[in-house]
Symmetry: C2
Subunit: 248 residues, 2 copies
DNA sequence: GAATTTCGTTGATCTGGATCAAGCAAGTGG
DNA sequence: CCACTTGCTTGATCCAGATCAACGAAATTC
């Protein structure tokens, strides 16, 4: 039985797990103090809607933990995920009055929120924050463009392999070199979320997962636990420029 | 017979046609003088390659005139356009050593270039530039996400209608209110470029153009000249949230 | 002005992934 | 314990868009 915490206890910026990767990563301690005074935490349960398209944007925020999904929906219900927010990623944009897409908590998500208006003022006066935000936005843009290649030109099999390869690589970076073989990844998402992300239907996702399993590219322990015996093989299936260089 | 000008005469920033929309739009005259000293113009012919993926990024630049296309290509030749650079748009990213995609001149293109390293320094010292660049990057990210919805979920007909609607709207904004009816747009791109942009084949592009013409959604004078008799109708075919508000 | 080349259209056919439909396994709630 | 729901898989069929192929129009070259 999980307790539903809506207002998490606020931690000190100095102890913050995303301290060195979030918008605030370039800040000096005096600037951190300003942020410290402005911020408030909020936690959303898995599946909960964080924001709807066209909602007024009162807050901007950093993701402290969990995964949030950005998506756009057409009137007839067709839906496309347009981004994933992982811990340290930034939600909302300075200078914009309303949200341009839906935001959903894919897992339980904790946000470190700042009211938008004061935050915009802060950007003016603290170039470090603006610069970091620019870096992060440029990275997101690169990722979005990679995703466009996937959506526009890759086959269903390649799409699935790409997603799994991305998750696997993220996993690999976090782990010490020794603990990597064989590489295990956990899908913290339903088949529907995968389908929305990849521009496929759940049936096709399911079939391609089965196909990759039968071909020995992945192994499955239950529906959400995947083992990758041979990462280069998986990357090859993804159709990306082969190498990408060694992992560390 | 067109003359091939590679080094255009440099114009004064003050007289620059993109003065108020480019990265430099927030700059004061003292800052403009700095840019004035750093900049150099270069013009590329239609179809010419401006930059290859993995090229070292010596320059960043603003597009002064013309249209440049960003694209990514898979080993087997499948290609996806991932962005269009129109006049005032910015090319290249500070802090990155190499290009992450190919850049091609779709029409004749003139760039206002700055060497990357000095430009990076300038960003540090001139917050106005960094702030403008952030704004522009955020807009591009929004556009990329809209494009992801198109690539992942729209039908071929909707894709074509979306592209034409975007071009039509851009046209409409430039024109005085009176000169709008009927709205004429000029495709400055081949069917192949359209296909690469929309994640389709040229045959499908051609067929859907014909279909839209037969259904009276568009009219065609030659292959590259389109008339839109009823913009809302076209937007409706694009499958986007209907309104978007009145044009002015 | 014939021969190429480039760009676009159209027709015939094929196929990858969508759609429709059924069923299974693991909760969950009465 | 049984009814119901949720998440996933699998099978049968369909169809939008890809592929293969031919051709037409305009521009370019010789």
């Amino acid at each position: 039985m999980t307790q539903h915490v809506l207002k998490s206890p606020t931690i000190n910026c100095v102890d913050c797990p995303i301290r060195h990767r979030a918008v605030c990563s370039n800040c000096e301690s005096s600037e951190l103090q300003l942020l410290e005074m402005m911020k408030s935490y909020k936690t959303y349960g898995a599946g909960e809607q964080i924001m709807w398209k066209d909602d007024p944007l009162r807050f901007v925020a950093s993701v402290v933990s969990g995964v949030a999904a950005l998506s756009r929906t057409m009137e007839d219900g067709r839906r496309q995920m347009v981004g994933l927010l992982l811990p340290a990623d930034f939600l909302g944009r300075p200078g914009r009055e309303r949200a341009t897409f839906d935001v959903t908590a894919a897992t339980e998500v904790t946000l470190c929120r700042f009211e938008r208006k004061p935050f915009e003022k802060l950007i003016e006066s603290t170039p470090a924050i603006g610069r970091r935000l620019l870096e992060m936005t440029l990275d997101e843009l690169d990722a979005a463009r990679d995703w466009m290649l996937l959506l526009g030109r890759k086959t269903a099999r390649e799409k699935i392999a790409s997603l799994l390869a991305i998750l696997a690589q993220r996993q690999a970076i976090l782990l010490p070199n020794s603990a990597r073989q064989p590489l295990k990844i956990e899908l913290q998402m339903t088949r529907e979320a995968m389908a929305d992300y990849l521009g496929l239907t759940i049936e096709t996702v399911s079939r391609q997962m089965t196909a990759l399993r039968k071909d020995g590219v992945i192994e499955m322990q239950g529906k959400r636990h995947i083992t990758v015996p041979d990462l280069p093989r998986l990357q090859d299936e993804a159709g990306d420029d082969a190498d990408g260089g060694p992992l560390d």
